[in-house]
Symmetry: C2
Subunit: 388 residues, 2 copies
């Protein structure tokens, strides 16, 4: 049931091939000291770095840079960015990259003026920011995380082997995001399909909770049906603009709070995947792909009606002549076929995890309630072993 | 295809049985002179008027009132509201009612400081506001129009027999809207079902355009599937909170710009329905119900693939053994059965229109492009005659 909730998502989105032109206008509302944040340099190869720095120069901005933000941004990198932002008196952060760069920029934005250790405050004690938050804008180059229109910021601590996400409120969401599907076309297939599975899993983690009849579930089903069609086209032809644009737009709506409304939400696949990521530094979407079917098959009987609905409404499997359980199994089988078709990583061994890591990964897995079965540590171990 | 577009919807929504409690917090951000706008007095019967005026009084606000806003708000009423707002130096408008009250409040908000005739400026010349806009907040008591999260404002001119909508930008959208499904439960069945059809038609007008594969269409299909289920439950039991809350939430997302993204959109059913409304003053949703099937059947062959998709994906009709045209017809037949099940008005005669009005209604029908067939005046006459 749709209970009591608040929806507020003020991020302004510019979508399409021509969307970068709006950066100039948005910069008029920003301060003068820009922190330009990006990753490993692919934006230099693609020419996007030159385009953006030219726009910043024409706007008369002073620019400091944080480069080399890694796929799983670390606490050390966060601290480095905070120092650069302080030294350069940053009053606006421009993230140019994928979800990691965007997440990282938001983590910096709440940490620069925070008189506390950000890791301890936001990722261990899960407190909310009480300091001035530096506004963030985003030029997105990868579709998947939804970071362009939400308050999420995942950070990894290699010393403690933890990868933890904090979902901040609407005051941390990007002020604007520029979404050009063409930017996503230069991604290797591995990154593209990892992003696609990240999207699918975001929707599933919200969808697989509750036994009620909820508008959010109907929207989720629509998004999943569209994503399945578009992903098949994109794998066949990565330059299919229609498919890539549908994937990019679906990513945004899969995790901008909309389809969570009225839902308890689950997020155990992310908890398991993030623990695997903390141990292996593997690509986020692939860690999710590798643990999700073992997880869903493990809990399926506890939410069998919803898994049966998933089979019928998302995968188009006929209900006739099947028990709920048979239907539910057929739905997960259909998802498995689709995942293999996309070439996703289907086990954590392939990501570098081995039997000896299982206990450690289980320790690093945060157990959340909200789904169809509340796990205990032994459940986590079993699921991880099935994922090997 | 998702072309170039901007998405920005800053309205903050408070949803649920407890949502009125947030009015107090929102009032802290408003000026001191509130214009309270409402309709025919049902909020006095329900006790909502007393609750809200108590909250306003406790917040120390000075309150002026515009009451008696009618289902199709008129130019004369608009001018009256503008005068009251000027005289009372209104700096915040609080709309308490359905879509008409909310539309009307937005029309007043752009007219108080406009040194021009609002009807001429906004509804004849379709200009954008260049004056200071008075912020609007909304407490919604009816689900249907989506006015609570968009910039739309329909006004009727009885002298010229015109009912015209202006969709303003994000600066005119309500700052906040309070959505309590319980408030909608006291509506008579006629108003409830009219609202449900208004929602359905909003989605259809955006869905039935373009031949591409578009995320918006998948979201629309999800919303329609959910609406059909919820509407059947609500007609059986109007106190079904789950159904009423799903209907209310679907209404918001059916017309807050999201499902129009990447779509040319049609809106001819609204143009026909509004012309009927200008002649009969009938309930908005019923005017749409009365003209929509004649319209869709008239244009079906020009968009047969989409109508076939509608049949299969929204109404669950099997594609097997059917031509696209047969499938498309079966989909519209299924919609007709559902409409009759809801007890909707299926012809304009029942709304007070007769043969003698056809030419006048045709003259009042604004012809828009964007759908599957660009109509001419003779098409409009034919559709109206079939609607009698």
């Amino acid at each position: 049931m749709l209970g009591n909730f608040t929806y507020h998502n003020p991020t302004k989105l510019y979508f399409g091939e021509d969307s970068l032109q709006y950066l100039k206008d948005e910069l008029k509302n920003c301060g003068n000291n820009i922190l330009l944040v990006y990753g490993g340099g692919s934006i230099k190869k693609s020419g996007l770095y030159d385009e953006i720095t030219a726009i910043l120069r024409d706007a008369g901005k002073t620019v400091a840079e944080v480069s080399g933000v890694m796929p799983n941004p670390t606490v050390d990198k966060l601290n480095e960015g905070v120092k650069i932002a302080r030294d350069s008196k940053t009053d606006f952060i421009l993230a140019v990259g994928g979800g990691s760069v965007c997440d990282y920029s938001k983590a910096v934005s709440v940490s620069v003026n925070c008189g506390d250790d950000p890791w301890e405050k936001y990722y261990i004690r899960f407190e909310e920011p009480t300091c001035d938050i530096i506004p963030v804008g985003c030029v997105l180059t990868m579709a998947g995380t939804g970071s362009e229109m939400n308050g999420g910021a995942v950070i990894t601590n290699h010393a403690t082997k933890q990868k933890i996400g904090h979902v901040f409120g609407d005051n941390v969401m990007p002020k604007f995001s520029i979404l050009n599907p063409k930017y996503t076309m230069t991604l290797p297939k591995y990154q593209m399909t990892a992003g696609i599975y990240d999207i699918m899993n975001h929707i599933c983690e919200q969808y697989f909770s509750g036994d009620d009849d909820n508008t959010s579930d109907y929207i989720s089903e629509g998004l999943m049906r569209g994503l399945i069609v578009a992903s098949r086209k994109a794998v066949k032809d990565p330059t299919d603009y229609e498919a890539r644009s549908n994937i990019m737009w679906t990513a945004t709506w899969a995790l901008n709070t909309l389809v969570a409304k009225g839902k308890s939400t689950d997020w155990m696949v992310h908890m398991l995947g993030q623990a695997v990521g903390a141990y292996t530094d593997a690509t986020h979407g692939m860690t999710l792909a590798a643990v999700s079917l073992p997880y869903y098959r493990y809990i399926m009987k506890d939410g069998v009606k919803k898994f049966a609905r998933f089979a019928a409404e998302v995968w188009g499997i006929s209900r006739s002549g099947k028990t709920d359980e048979e239907l539910a199994e057929a739905g997960l089988d259909a998802m498995e076929s689709w995942m293999k078709e996309l070439g996703l990583v289907m086990n954590i061994s392939e990501l570098g995890a081995d039997e000896n890591m299982i206990e450690g990964i289980a320790d690093a897995t945060i157990i959340l309630d909200g789904g169809y079965k509340l796990l205990d540590r032994s459940d986590v171990v079993k699921i991880l072993k099935t994922s090997l």
